[in-house]
């Protein structure tokens, strides 16, 4: 009996010993090198290769592009004029949308960081929600809301929808920046008789400038690259990402490559500006005159409170109500008629939900496997400038318009490139891997930064192999970052429209299905699909807020 008990107890010990030996073996330098090579190769293939390929495609086809854009037998230079107008529309719409965002986002960011009031956390959650919701669902909701006010698809409606989904980027970044400002500095200025406006200009603004500019540029690039909501709200207006989708559909691949490259270069320039600003010392401004009379006047309570109330009302009118108006358009009888009609929309909806989830889960699974070693390399390896370069490249997919990124992936992995994937679910997965990877790496990297190195060193001095230390110490410590990254990436994958439109085959994801249904006027079915993805996104956002480390909340 005793012998048998011993045998039963021995099994886990033997398994554990085997595991420890395997970990010791795999901790050897040669395996670490192999892992590094795999991770860097994945990173290069998924993020860098499609972009480099687009550059080479444009160079290789420059003659054809030139003819098509400027000297076409049928169009003359009309295609170039259309492209220029599309770029101008994209820029002007992004500029106006972000200006509105800043105007109504600044007072709200102050309200959410410096004031306590009932329901604050719920409002904070609602402000963030449009960022997580698939933009096609948001666009449809915004279109329905402003439609009852008589605003039809066109530039004005595009601006309204862009305000709704870029607003959280401004508020979120500003909130993080304001939280870092020591209130004592502001109070000290006030004790020296500075008015609230003077404090804002001379103390607060210089300190939060970095967050404001970063948020502004992120919101700007997000607006510049948005496709799904814009397609629903555009009417006859063609923004640059919509034009990329159109050119891809017409198989004008060199011309689409050219426009994608233009968008990629613009986005990269903006990314470099953000990075440069982040490194600058912002507290060097000199003020020739400190106290202005008009500042004193506008610092009166009636103006400061009035500004917050006005911003709150505008936020409710421009962001919150339009974003969730679609819930009031749920009509069970009409939805039943549309969903279970001759074309069996219910089956398409179900299939699209399954596709979206399959893609999302597979993408985050691959992302996490690569992102954990990548984040460790980023934070722990002392590779000098290489770390900085990897860190910058990692942000590229976040800032490039998804239609351009999708097109770059299509050209690299598809029949026109190395021909490893055909348009369809496989290529959608490649595309989603590209832009979700940074969402997984960032929170993990933030958690790694916070790990007390002493715990790992203690483990090592007690004879644990690096891989054992990783399993026992590091992994549990970064668990929340991993979960937060997975949820953020899943949410992003679930909501993506522009890139998916470029690389999809016959199968649909939910956001694309919403665009299809709006285009065919099946509004009730589209409303149901929108509500489903908004609810899923709300749940995922709530989970993200639980797990996301504070340091990685920017972006």
């Amino acid at each position: 009996m005793v012998t048998q008990e011993h045998r039963i107890g021995e099994a886990p010990i033997i398994r554990n010993n085997l595991l420890l030996r395997a970990e010791k073996e795999l901790s050897k330098k040669k395996y670490k090198r192999i892992l590094e090579i795999i991770v860097i190769t994945f990173f290069a293939l998924i993020i860098l290769a499609p972009i480099i390929n687009i550059i080479s495609t444009v160079i290789a086809n420059i003659g054809e592009i030139r003819t098509r854009l400027f000297f076409d037998i049928l169009l003359g230079d009309s295609q170039w004029v259309i492209m220029r107008e599309a770029l101008w529309d994209s820029f002007s719409i992004a500029f106006v949308a972000v200006a509105i965002d800043v105007a109504i986002g600044f007072p709200i960011a102050i309200l959410l960081t410096r004031n306590e009031f009932p329901g604050k956390h719920f409002i904070d959650f609602l402000v963030d929600l449009p960022m997580a919701v698939p933009t096609s669902a948001l666009g449809f909701s915004v279109m329905m809301f402003w439609g009852i006010m008589g605003i039809t698809p066109g530039r004005t409606l595009i601006i309204f929808v862009h305000v709704a989904f870029t607003y959280p980027y401004i508020v979120r970044n500003l909130k993080l920046a304001i939280e870092k400002v020591d209130p004592l500095l502001e109070k000290a200025a006030m004790t020296l008789s500075a008015s609230k406006m003077t404090v804002l200009r001379t103390i607060s603004l210089p300190l939060i400038r970095e967050g404001l500019i970063a948020g502004t540029i992120l919101a700007f690039t997000r607006s510049l690259g948005e496709t799904g909501a814009t397609m629903i709200c555009a009417g006859l207006v063609e923004t640059a990402p919509i034009l990329v989708v159109g050119l891809r559909k017409q198989l004008q691949l060199p011309t689409a490559s050219f426009l994608s490259l233009v968008l990629i270069l613009i986005s990269l320039t903006l990314l470099i500006i953000v990075k440069l600003i982040a490194r600058r010392n912002t507290a060097t401004s000199k003020f020739w005159q400190i106290h202005f009379e008009w500042e004193k006047f506008f610092s009166k309570s009636i103006f400061t409170k009035g500004t917050k109330i006005l911003a709150g009302l505008l936020m409710t009118l421009l962001v919150l109500i339009p974003s969730f108006y679609i819930f009031s358009e749920i009509r069970p009888v009409e939805i039943g008629v549309e969903l279970f009609g001759a074309d069996n929309k219910w089956a398409y909806l179900w299939s699209a939900v399954v596709n979206s989830f399959q893609i999302g889960f597979l993408v985050i699974f691959i992302d996490v496997i690569i992102a954990i070693p990548f984040a460790l390399m980023l934070e722990r390896e002392k590779w000098g400038r290489v770390n900085g370069i990897l860190d910058t490249i990692l942000d590229i997919p976040l800032i490039i318009p998804s239609a351009a990124l999708g097109f770059a992936v299509f050209m690299f992995w598809g029949p026109a490139g190395i021909n490893l994937a055909q348009p369809g679910l496989g290529m959608i997965i490649f595309t989603h891997l590209t832009f979700t990877f940074p969402y997984v790496v960032r929170p993990i990297a933030a958690q790694i930064k916070n790990i007390k190195i002493g715990h790992e060193e203690a483990s090592a001095t007690l004879g644990a192999a690096p891989l054992t230390t990783f399993r026992r110490i590091t992994l549990p410590a970064i668990k929340n970052g991993v979960i937060a990254g997975m949820i953020a990436a899943f949410t992003r994958s679930l909501g993506e429209t522009g890139a998916t439109l470029i690389v999809m085959g016959a199968d649909r994801t939910v956001p694309v299905l919403i665009v299809d249904w709006v285009e065919e006027n099946a509004f009730y079915a589209a409303a149901l699909a929108s509500v489903i993805v908004i609810l899923i996104s709300a749940l995922l956002l709530a989970l993200t807020r639980v797990f996301m480390p504070k340091e990685s909340q920017r972006l």
Partner: protein, 187 residues
Amino acid sequence: MDPAAITIDNLADPVVIQWLSEIESAAVFYGKSTGFLAKYMRDRGPEALQVAVLYENLVQDYSQLAEEKYGQKIIAVYPTEGSLFSDHPFCILDADWVSEEQKMVADEYLKFLSQKELILKAIQTGFRPIDVNLLDESDIQEVYQLSFNMEHGVTADPGVIIELHPPTDGLVIARIPDLWLLTRNSE
């Protein structure tokens, strides 16, 4: 003009572009699909939209519904210049990139579509048989008469419909949508 003789130069002809511009100038708005336009006609009535280019089956689907709502049917008009036939003919390409298996599957599919049961169903749904000889069969004729009549806004007389033959040069066909870039309204 012989469709086979149409070239890209013909498309670039200012007279052709002017002709298309005149048609475009009468557009009230652009819809994204014919289904959208038909539904719009049904939902908003003749005050909102009077003429649209539609598939015949859409006219049948919405004609009576429009009459119930606005007292006017949606009626198909068949241009004397000809009507474009959609999804016809069914082709199995004899190209080197089409495998034997694909040809076999396409052939099976054609056999499936050619079953009488399917033909009757297609006619009931509003798809006109191209082969008029099919109408000699009494059961097909009976279903045809029930589906294709002025009550549903479409003609029962196949002789009224003249087939418009598109250009045969693939490059010309590919460039036709580009004409729209020259004439469309973007405001």
